[in-house]
Structures are given as structure tokens and as C-alpha cells.
């Protein structure tokens, strides 16, 4: 594996077989050093709490041999195809070709998505998977506003997802608190409005707004931060939210989570087998698949809403300001753009869609716990955005499909799933750091590009 990253600057001599062998032997040696203890020896807490160990030199030998062979193969491939590309951007023709395909692909994908419940009506697993993919598409599009359009690196996006989910879960169970004025002391009292079957539809916007509020709360302290500092503060923020949820047992149930969250209704009509249910009303036999189909279209609509808002906003002054800020914050400020509102609105909007997705997640699962809102989720969504080519809507959708689909393929190998995910992330960054599909250029720019274009400035400074 170590040979994957050859030295960029060194000019290799005309490689002979001996050179390849030497290199492979070195890689194998490094692998031996790395894995001798970690794989060669397996430790485990014994029955009496005492540590025991046993050796696994067979596996160790196999892995080292695999590294040796793999290293030869990689080296041969490298010579056969020239340097394995470390292309900073996809080649121009890829971009234009993709733009053409993209024009067709996007409607095609949309039609396919609309037809999924019809085609796969009898395959609950696929419907479930479709809902999951669409949830991530929506999260990706939401985060894309923050990261792709506004260029603010947010590693704590899952916090808003959590806020949305918990807002919905808690408010749906307690009812919507409506403060009202009383004539006498204590002047303000709270009435809990029980929402019944309308819970989801009333609380969806509420969850989104609460998440947006948290987005602004996060936005304020980080206004002055940029790049990596911003990343780490958002990460810390995400962890704070998760830890508070985990520890505030009386409100959130702590690690046990909240169960019995009301299921969504078709605008007030429940999807239950009873006489008031949708099936009975339409006069068709009840099937649990109805709910899945409904959830599928619901998340599809929500995701498309996110997409539509993002696309429309890009044409408004605020969207232009986001893109300008992404390209160069200092220039932006010099031109009189209010950085404070620009940043806060990006955080708020991104967070709002995260909140919507969270509310949907809660109603779909019927159960939420802090385990669903770990840093891994944030990283996954961020990976989707970056691999999709930041700012490209279609790219994000495709990346979500690939990542979540790929994740599902490895479901059987649960242990290895995150290992593979991490490795794929590293390899994709090396192979195609600008994303699989492409990087979205600003919506408007001067056609005469100067030597010091924003692109180049950005290479060095976030």
C-alpha cells in the first residue's frame, strides 16, 4: 500500500524489474513493521478479566504477501499507464461531456426516482434503501449550501439533523407549547396543543426553524473564523449537541433515546389498518408498504424542495454573495458585501434543511437515540458533498447514491464497512480530489480571466 503514493517530484529512472522488486520488498517490509504486532498478535480480555493473547502469523504472512504482490501490480500499472493521475480537476472534456449528459441525466434520474415505488413495490428492502439514499441526498444538498456554495467547512452538520429529529420527537410527544398571556401572575403560561394526526405537518417547519436557529447560534461565534478553525469549532459544536442529548436524561432519555414517535400521516389521514386509515378510505386492502411508498415520496419531495431552493437562491443576490465569499472573502468584504448576514444566512439555511431531514428521520424510524448523530454521519455527508464536487447538485445526488449504495453492499461485512469507507475516502481524495463529477464554477464571473483567478487563489487559502 505504501507505494501508492510515489514521490511526485522524484524522476524515476527507467524502471527495471529489479527496481519494482526492490520497491515491493520495501513496501512489504514496512507492512511487516506495521502489522507484526497489530495483526500478528491478538489480545483479548480473558474470562477472568485477565488479558490473554494468541498469535496469528498466518494472517500476518498473508497480508504482507498481499502488500508485496499488490505493490508490484500497482507499480506495473503505473508504468503501463504512465503516472497514475493525480488530476487536480477533471479534464475539460470530462466537464463538458458531463454537462451534456447531466442535462439528460438529471431528468432521467428524477423520472426514475418517481417510478421507484412503482417498479419496486414488492421489494421493501429496496424501498427502504431508496428512502435512506434520498435522506442523504437531502442532507448533502443542505450541506452543499454551507460548504459548496458559501465555502464554509462544516464538520458538525449532524448537529442540525439531531436538533430537527429531537425537536420533532419531543414536541410531537408533548404537544406544541403555546405561550399565552394570563391576566394575573404568572402573566405567561404555556398551553400544550396536542396535534394528533397533524403532528408531522405542523412540526416539520417548526423543527426546521429550530434547527435554523441553532445554525445562527453556531454562526455567531464562528463569524471571524475560517478554514480549519471553522472546521474544528463546528466539529466541537456537533459533539456538544450530541453530548448534551446523551446526558440530559430527563429530557431526551439519554442513551436510551426516544421511542414511540408519531408516524407521519397523509395530511391528517393515518396510514393504519383501522377504519380511519387511508387504505380503508380508498377502499383498498391495507398494506404496510403504503407507508414506505408515502415516506419515499415525502423525502423525495423534501429533497427536491432543498434542491429547488438552493438553485433559486443561487440566482438571488444572497446566492451570488455566497459564491463570491467562497471565492474570496476579503475581496467580498471590500466590495461591501455584508459578511455577517451572508455567513449567518448560509448556516441558517443549511441547518434548516438538516432540521427537515432530521424530522423526517425521526418520523420514519419512530425511534431516535444519540447513536444516530455521531461524527461519522457528519463525515459521511461531507464526503458526499465533496465527492460530488462541491456545489454541483447532480454530483451530490450521484455521490449519495454511490456512497450509500456502496455502504449497503458491505452490510454483511459490518466490521469492515467503516474500514472500507475510510480507505475509499482516502483513495478518492488522491485520485480525484475535486470530486467525482466536477466542481461547480461560480454562477457569474468575468469572462476575461486574469492570471490570478479566484481558482488559483483558492488553491492556497481556503
Amino acid at each position: 500500500m505504501a507505494t501508492l503514493a510515489t514521490d511526485r517530484t522524484s524522476t524515476q529512472p527507467a524502471s527495471t524489474f529489479a527496481f519494482i522488486l526492490k520497491k515491493a520488498a520495501l513496501s512489504a517490509l514496512v507492512a511487516l513493521g506495521l502489522f507484526l504486532l497489530m495483526i500478528g498478535i491478538r489480545t483479548e480480555a480473558g474470562p477472568s478479566g485477565q488479558l490473554i493473547y494468541w498469535t496469528r502469523f498466518g494472517e500476518l504472512a498473508a497480508i504482507v504477501a498481499a502488500v508485496f504482490v499488490g505493490s508490484i501490480v500497482v507499480e506495473l500499472l503505473r508504468q503501463w499507464s504512465g503516472r497514475i493521475g493525480i488530476a487536480a480537476t477533471p479534464a475539460p472534456w470530462v466537464g463538458s461531456a458531463l454537462a451534456k449528459i447531466g442535462k439528460l441525466l438529471a431528468p432521467a434520474l428524477l423520472i426514475f426516482a418517481l417510478l421507484v415505488p412503482v417498479i419496486f413495490y414488492n421489494q421493501r428492502y429496496l424501498l427502504d434503501l431508496g428512502i435512506l439514499v434520498l435522506t442523504y441526498v437531502m442532507l448533502g444538498w443542505g450541506l452543499n449550501i454551507v460548504v459548496g456554495l458559501a465555502g464554509l467547512l462544516d464538520l458538525g452538520y449532524v448537529a442540525f439533523y439531531a436538533v430537527g429529529a429531537y425537536s420533532y420527537a419531543l414536541l410531537a410527544q408533548s404537544g406544541l407549547p403555546l405561550p399565552y398571556l394570563t391576566g394575573s401572575y404568572p402573566f405567561v403560561a404555556v398551553d400544550f396543543l396536542q396535534l394528533g394526526p397533524w403532528a408531522f405537518w405542523v412540526l416539520l417547519p417548526v423543527s426546521g426553524l429550530l434547527a435554523a436557529l441553532w445554525g445562527v447560534l453556531l454562526g455567531f461565534p464562528v463569524l471571524r473564523l475560517r478554514g480549519d478553525y471553522l472546521a474544528i469549532v463546528t466539529l466541537a459544536f456537533g459533539e456538544i449537541i450530541r453530548l448534551v442529548i446523551l446526558n440530559w436524561q430527563s429530557l431526551t432519555g439519554g442513551p436510551n433515546g426516544i421511542s414511540g414517535i408519531p408516524r407521519p400521516t397523509v395530511f391528517g389521514i393515518p396510514l393504519t389498518p383501522g377504519p380511519d386509515g387511508l387504505a380503508a378510505m380508498l377502499g383498498v386492502p391495507f398494506s404496510p408498504t403504503h407507508r414506505l411508498v408515502f415516506l419515499f415520496y415525502l423525502i423525495l419531495a423534501l429533497a427536491l424542495l432543498t434542491n429547488w431552493v438552493a438553485i433559486r437562491l443561487r440566482r438571488l443576490p444572497i446566492g451570488r454573495a455566497w459564491e463570491a465569499m467562497r471565492e474570496d472573502e476579503v475581496a467580498c468584504r471590500a466590495l461591501g458585501i455584508n459578511i455577517t448576514t451572508t455567513k449567518l444566512s448560509a448556516f441558517a439555511l443549511g441547518a434548516m434543511f438538516g432540521g427537515f431531514a432530521g424530522a423526517f428521520f425521526a418520523t420514519r424510524q419512530g425511534f431516535i437515540s444519540p447513536e444516530s448523530f455521531t461524527f461519522q454521519e457528519s463525515a459521511l455527508v461531507l464526503a458526499i458533498v465533496v465527492l460530488g464536487g462541491m456545489g454541483s447538485q447532480l454530483g451530490v445526488a450521484l455521490a449519495a447514491l454511490t456512497m450509500i449504495g456502496g455502504f449497503e453492499l458491505f452490510r454483511g461485512l459490518d466490521q469492515y464497512r467503516m474500514l472500507v469507507f475510510g480507505a475509499v475516502m482516502v483513495l478518492l481524495m488522491i485520485w480525484r480530489p475535486r470530486g467525482l463529477v466536477g466542481h461547480r464554477a461560480p454562477s457569474v464571473f468575468l469572462h476575461h480571466r486574469t492570471t490570478i483567478a479566484a481558482d488559483m487563489v483558492k488553491e492556497g487559502r481556503g
Binding site: A5, L37, A231, F237, N247, M418, G462
Partner: protein, 305 residues
Amino acid sequence: MDYFLQQLINGIVLGSIYGLIAIGYTMVYGIVGMINFAHGDIFMIGGFIALITFLILISIGLTVVPVILLIVLLVSMAVTALYGWSVERIAYRPLRQSFRLAPMLSAIGMSFVLSNFSQVAQGARVKPVPPIITGGYTLHESDAGFAVQLSNVQIVVVVTTIVLLAIFTWLVARTRFGRDMRACEQDQTMAALLGVDVDRTISMTFVIGAALAAVAGVMYLLYYGLVDFFMGFLAGIKAFTAAVLGGIGSLPGAMLGGLAIGLIETLWSAYFSVEYKDVAAFSILIIVLIFLPTGLLGRPEVEKV
């Protein structure tokens, strides 16, 4: 008062461990300008290597504690340094000229790879070890019967940290390598033009950072007596918080930040609530960055247009 003193001791010990990890973050940030997200997991690997080495040494019948400690420390530092080197080589070097997000995501990916690798290789369960260094001193005993304890482990942790810090400061300030490192930090192109092997210097930075993280891993193992595959994440973020708190890029700052985070965490758990100690540490990070964006000892970054 006695209670406070006890917490102070605990906080300093914990802070030393954070400080050792934080140095790795701050060095790498200084030289390549990226958050090495995998560093926390390098620390975890260090803990695992130490555990395995310790187990082997015990089983071949070695009983002299100082010798065991020395061997465990050296083996763990060497192997973990190799991990640090490989991570840089595989995941970061090809991306050095890439746009800013790329190495960061690659680092996040690497962090997942490392933590899940040790889960796969060593199992998900927490691995406890019997206390290796036992005993200690009672510094002061109050009338109420509360005794301020200073255990031998705590002494070992703090002394090792101080010694390593001294060696390390000497390395950066006085040696050829230290000069190269500082040169690369200021201007890589210029350093390369003046004959500094930039690639090698960066590699060495990762190696040293990983070795220090390994020491932190050994200390963690000695102090808490357990390792698990997930411990790198939280420790990593806290150490990064420490690095930022002290002013990223500044070595004394990293140590100072580490101590501060250790103390905050310990005192918070002692006087307020154990559950929210991490929340306190992260809140401090946010507060510091609002009022002191460059940290305690960091240089203000001049924004060039």
C-alpha cells in the same frame, strides 16, 4: 483545599497526556497547514502497541518494571512512528498541492481506517491491563481524613513528559533537523531552494509527532490501565482543542493548552458534573476562539490579499 490540590495533580497528569498529543497536531499544522485528523488514532495505535508489547514481555517472564517500561516505550514509539510515516506517505503526500479540503478529508478517511483497523485486528472490547506501576505517596492528610495522593504512575507520567519535552525542544531549537523544520514552516519553496529536503523534513515531522503520540498512548495505558479502539477520537479532538487553545503552530502553546484542557476537564468533573466535562472542554474551545482567535501563544495571522 486538599480536594482542590488532589484535582490539580490529576489535572496536570491528564494535561501532560493531552499536551503530548497536541504537539503532534501543532507541528503538523505548522509545517503543512492541515489538521491531521488521524493523529488521535495514531495515539490509540500507540496505546495498543504498548499493550501488546507489555503482554509479550510479561509472558516471557520479564519482571523488572523499569526495563519493561523502557522496552514498551521504545517499541511503541518506533512502531507508531512507522504508522505516522506511512499515513503521511499514503494519504497526505500525494495531496500536498491539492486544494485545502482534500488533505482534511483524506485525514478523516485515514482516521476511520486506523480506528476500524484496530477494531478488526484487536476486537471491539475494552482491553484492561493490571496496574504496572503501583504505590505512591500521601502528601497531606487533612483532619477530615481526606488524603492528597500522589501515585508513582502520576510521577512517571509527568517526569516522562518533561524529559521528552526537553529533548524535543532541544531538537527543534538546536539541531539541523529543527532548523530545516522551522525553515519549511516559513516557506517550503525557499527552503527547498536552499537545499532543505522538504519531503524528508515533513516525513520526519510526522514521525516525531507520532512518536510523541505513542508516548502519550503508553502514559494513558499506564494511568488508566485500558485501551480501546475508539479512544483516539475524543482524545484527538481534545488534544486539538489544546493545540488551538495554546495557539496552533506554537510548541510551548500546545503543552500549555494541554495542561489547561486537562485542568478544566478535571476541575469541571470534580466540582460540577462528570457527564458534561467534554462539553466544558469544547465550550472553552469555542469561547477562546471568539475572543482569542490565535490562541494563547499564537502569532496573529496577517491576512494577505
